[in-house]
Amino acid sequence: MFEVLETKDKGHESIVIVKVILERVDKVEGVSVDNIDKSSAYHQTLHDDRIDHSHKTTELTTTLLISNPVTDDKVAKAIEPLNSTKIPGEENDSDTHVERYYVNDGQEERDFYSIGSVPSDIINTLKTDFPSENIDDFLWMSSSSYNSVLKENVITAFHKSNVDGLKNNSEMQRYKEGVISHVHKFFMKTKRVGTRVYSIATKNYSCVPDWCEILAIGEDFEKDQVTPMDFGYINIYFKGDPAKVETEFGLENRRGAEATFYAITADKTTNEVLRVKQYCYDYRTIFSGWELTAARVKKDIAKLHE
C-alpha cells in the first residue's frame, strides 16, 4: 500500500516521493486481527474490559526515480523491495526470559519467564507441592531461588487476576495509595503461599546510599491478607550508577544491556543489609521499565488526588 506524495518532472524521468505503509497491524491479546475501528463499541469494550490490544502502524517515505510517464504500476513495482524493509530499533521480544537477577548470598541467579517458556521442572514442582493452584492462571513465573533470609527456596509468579487491576474501587483505592503491583510467592519448604506487594517509596532508607534513587518497596503478606506480615525485613528497589553500587555493596560486575536495577533486603530495625539483588535486562521486557512504571504511577496518583 502506498501513497504518492509528490512528483517532480525531470524530463525523461520523474522524482516520485512516495509513502509506503510497511505495517498496519492490530492485535488483541497478542493475536493479529482485522483492523479495528477505534470508534466502534468493540474497541470501547477492549478498553473497558482491560483487554490487551494494540494498533501499530509503520510507514516509510522514500524517493524513487521513475521513467516518464509515471504510473501506479511502475511505482508499485519500484517499491516492492521496500515491503520487507525493517526499521532498525524494533524491540526484542525474546521469550527466553523477561528478567534475570543475581543475588549476593551465593551468587545464585534467577530467571523470570512468560508462562509458555517456564521450564517443565518448575511447573511440575509447583503442581506437586501446590496442587490447589491452577498453573494456567499465571502469566509469568520465576525459577526457584534460595532466600537466605527466609532460609528456603521461593518461586515468584504473576496471577492473571492482576490484569483486572484498577477495575474496582478497592483496587483503585490501593493504587491511589501507591500500590504498583503484587505477586504470588510460593515458599517451597514451608509450602505456604504469600503475596508481595510493591508500592511507591515514600521515604528514604539509610541502607541505600543517597546517590541512588529509591523507586519502590516490597512488603510481604500472607495470601489474601491485608496486613503485612512482620518478617522483620523490608525490600527496597532502587537504581544507581552500576559501578558505584557494585563497589558499595561488594558486588560482581553484572549489568544488563538494556537496564540494570537493584534491590536490598534490609533488617527493619537495624537497617542491616541482609541481601542484595542485581536485576539485569539485556533487552526491553514487560518488567524492565522500573523507572517508567514508578513515574507513571506517581503521575496517576497525582491525577487521582486532584
Binding site: 477492549l46 494494540s54 494498533h55 501499530k56 502502524t57 517515505t61 522514500t62 502469566l139 503484587h182
Partner: protein, 350 residues
C-alpha cells in the same frame, strides 16, 4: 592577427595561440589532510515503555565520502587547473570530484570528494606561465610564444596541457532511488545506487589508469527517507497494566555532490558521492493505568496531541539551529547543466 602565432590541427581547432595563456604542468600533488563532514545526529534520548528508543545513529548505508585537501603553492591569483588521477578505474572505482578551489594566503586549497574507503587520488596541477616559476634552464630548444605585451604564453619546455578529449557531461536526476538495494535487514539505504551517465573517451589509452580528468563538481542532490511509527492500546501486565500511545518519527538524509570516475571500458561516468549525512528523530509517548485518564472518548484527542508534537515541525527543535539540516528535499540542482570534462593522460607529464 597582426602578430604572433596560431597553430591549428586539420579540424581547425587551435592548438597553440600566442594570445592564449596556455596552461602548463606545474606539479603532482598528494593530499595534505583528509576529513569527513561530521554526521549530524540528534534527537531525544530517554527510555520509553513502548516507543522504540533507537536507532540513534547514522544508518550504515548513509554515505559520507572522504574530503582530501591539497595545498598548491602559486605565485599568482589565477586558480590552477587540477586534474584528478583516480586511485582506481573500472566498474568498482570510487567517484571523485573537485568540490572546492579556494585561495588561502599565498596558496590554493583544493578539496577533492571521493568515495569513502578508497585510496587517495593524486592531482596533476596546471597553471598559466605567469603564475609559476618553473625552471627551463638547460633546455635550449622548443617553441615559445609571446603576447602583445611580450609575456610568454606558451613554452614547450614546460609541458603544456595536452587534451585528448573533452566531453559534455550532465548528472543523473537523483543519487539514490529507493527501488533498489533496500529490503530485508538492509534497512535505510541512501547509498548512491543510480545508474551513472556514461560517456566514451575518445583517444583513450589502452591503460585506463593513465587517464586524468578535470571536471569540477557543479551538480548536487539531497535526499531523505522518513519513517513514522505509532501504536496505542492497552498492555495487560498485572497491576502494572496500562494504556499507552506513542509515536516516533525518524528522518535520515544525505547531501550529495556530483562526482566522476573512469569506469569499465574506459567510459567516463558521471554520478554522485555523499558529502554529508544526518539522522534526526523525535518521540512522544504517554501512558497511564487509569481508564479515566485515557478513556476511549478522550483517546482521539490524546493521539492528536501526540501527532501535533511530532508533526510537520518535528525536526526543528532537535538541537540544531532552526532545523536547517539540509538545503532542500528530494531533488537535485544543476544536474542537467552541461559540465565539460577535460581528459588528459598522466604519462604526458612524467
Amino acid at each position: 592577427m597582426a602578430y604572433g602565432l596560431s597553430v591549428k590541427n586539420n579540424s581547425g581547432e587551435v592548438l597553440v595561440d600566442s594570445d592564449f595563456n596556455h596552461y602548463h604542468f606545474v606539479q603532482t600533488l598528494t593530499h595534505s589532510s583528509v576529513t569527513r563532514v561530521p554526521p549530524l545526529v540528534d534527537g531525544p534520548g530517554g527510555s520509553y515503555d513502548q516507543a522504540p528508543s533507537s536507532p540513534n545513529s547514522l544508518d550504515s548505508d548513509q554515505p559520507r565520502g572522504n574530503i582530501y585537501k591539497f595545498i598548491f603553492g602559486s605565485n599568482g591569483a589565477k586558480p590552477p587547473m587540477c586534474f584528478i588521477k583516480p586511485s582506481a578505474t573500472g566498474g568498482s572505482a570510487p567517484y571523485a570530484s573537485i568540490v572546492l578551489t579556494t585561495r588561502v594566503g599565498t596558496n590554493w586549497e583544493i578539496w577533492v570528494l571521493q568515495t569513502y574507503g578508497a585510496s587517495a587520488p593524486t592531482l596533476y596541477c596546471f597553471s598559466p606561465i605567469d603564475q609559476i616559476s618553473a625552471s627551463t634552464s638547460g633546455t635550449t630548444y622548443g617553441l615559445q610564444t609571446f603576447n602583445s605585451s611580450g609575456d610568454t604564453t606558451f613554452d614547450s619546455r614546460l609541458k603544456p596541457l595536452r587534451v585528448i578529449d573533452s566531453i559534455i557531461t550532465t548528472s543523473p536526476s537523483l543519487a539514490n532511488t529507493g527501488s533498489s538495494n533496500v529490503g530485508g535487514e538492509t534497512n535505510i539505504n541512501l547509498n548512491v545506487n543510480v545508474t551513472p551517465n556514461s560517456y566514451t573517451i575518445n583517444n583513450a589509452p589502452s591503460n585506463s589508469s593513465d587517464i586524468i580528468y578535470y571536471c569540477p563538481s557543479i551538480a548536487h542532490c539531497c535526499q531523505d527517507k522518513r519513517a513514522h511509527r505509532e501504536d496505542d492500546g492497552f498492555q495487560a501486565a498485572g497491576n502494572n497494566s496500562y494504556f499507552y500511545a506513542w509515536a516516533r518519527d525518524d528522518l535520515w538524509w544525505t547531501f550529495y555532490r556530483g562526482a566522476y570516475r573512469v569506469g569499465a571500458s574506459s567510459k567516463f561516468q558521471s554520478s554522485y558521492e555523499g558529502y554529508a549525512s544526518g539522522h534526526v528523530w523525535d518521540t512522544a509517548e504517554d501512558t497511564s493505568s487509569l481508564l479515566a485518564a485515557i478513556a476511549a472518548a478522550a483517546l482521539g484527542q490524546w493521539q492528536l496531541a501526540i501527532a501535533l508534537a511530532i508533526g510537520a515541525s518535528t525536526f526543528t527543535s532537535a538541537g540544531v539551529a532552526s532545523g536547517n539540516y539540509y538545503p532542500y528535499e528530494n531533488d537535485s540542482r544543476n544536474e542537467g547543466q552541461s559540465n565539460p570534462a577535460i581528459i588528459s593522460r598522466a604519462s604526458f607529464y612524467t
